[in-house]
Amino acid sequence: MNGGLTGMKKRKQSMKGKFKRKDWQFATLTSLLIATLVTFLCWAILKEPPGEDLTAEALAPLFVQSGVTSPVTAILLNFRGYDTLLEVMVLFLAGLGIWSQATVDPTNPLVFSSPATHPTKPNFHGPGPELILATLVRILIPLMVLVAGYLTWAGGFQAGGAFQGGALLGGAGILLILAEPQRISTIPPALIRFGIVLGPAIFLLVGVSCFGYGGNFLQYPQPGAGSWLLLIEFGAAISIGITLTTLFVGGRPDPKRLKGTDQP
């Protein structure tokens, strides 16, 4: 008890005089410094033309072997697939981090669950907007899911891919929650966990199964790399959609208010 308080005091002491907000002198100084930095960078960048592009030339003949015709998808999922694997993990990590920080009331997921001293009202109250939203959602969501599927599939040969499709799925999920916030309480948390893990797990498993074909990690077997990529993309899109929705909700369902919990 005392420890925490002393620590807080100490920290305030050590911060004193360094970052006081109302201090306009500090603000002016910062702005001036940043202006100088920007001007210098501007001069430095514009002074010389960009260097010779060796990478693009070296990459050009490799696209045929990548299994997809869209160059961005080829780089994203094949050449630099490892970056993308880690990026999917970053998104997973964000979901994980948020679940570890906060709990939300599953019957009203748009607020943090707090000690039930003052019960919170439902979010979008009033019959008017709710009805409109519900109708809109009924038409829009199937359409969005369809387009998300198309975008994910189309990533192989044109603009699009797992991230764009997944983001659209996430948008659909967010709309669903806005329209019917209570709906989330019917989804068991274990299922949400599974949905979040699915995409990263598929990506990792595909990467590992490449060892079975005698390749390196993430070295998709040569004829048919495209289908492996498609598998990864669909898994990733589903998980990205679910994770983005979870990020929007902003916390794990509070087990105290959840009937039939499977988790502490």
């Binding site: 911060m15 360094k18 970052f19 907000r21 869209s70 961005v72 998808t73 748009l110 607020v111 943090f112 003052h118 919170t120 979010n123 975008l151 044109q158 603009a159 699009g160 891919g161 991230f163 764009q164 983001a167 659209l168 996430g170 948008g171 967010i174 983005l244 990020l247 929007f248 909700v249 902003g250």
Partner: protein, 100 residues
């Protein structure tokens, strides 16, 4: 010619909007401005021959990020019992831990 004019408008508007996001008093307005900034940004990506990025920016950068901010704003408002004051920088006593 029209396209170059379009580029020109984008080049001017992007930093101005960015500045407005940080200078607007009302945080709700700032978030709305940020979403429109994201949409303009995705136009810039289209102009710079990056359709993939444009799609991602429109969906993630403007759409989902905007939704995240609005949801956070909703929670902040709620946590001060439906008072909207928190949106303004002046009432910064509410958020007192504000050193970077």
């Amino acid at each position: 010619m029209i396209l170059i004019l379009f580029d020109f408008v984008l080049i001017i508007t992007l930093p101005l909007l960015g500045w407005a996001v940080l200078a607007t008093e009302d945080i709700f307005k700032a978030v709305v401005l940020f979403v429109s900034f994201g949409l303009l940004m995705s136009l810039a990506w289209v102009r710079l021959n990056a359709p993939d990025v444009a799609l991602a920016e429109a969906a993630i950068g403007a759409g989902v990020t905007g939704a995240l901010f609005l949801s956070a704003l909703n929670k902040l408002e709620r946590s001060v019992k439906h008072e909207r004051r928190i949106n303004r920088d002046e009432e910064k006593e509410a958020i007192n831990e504000r050193e970077i």
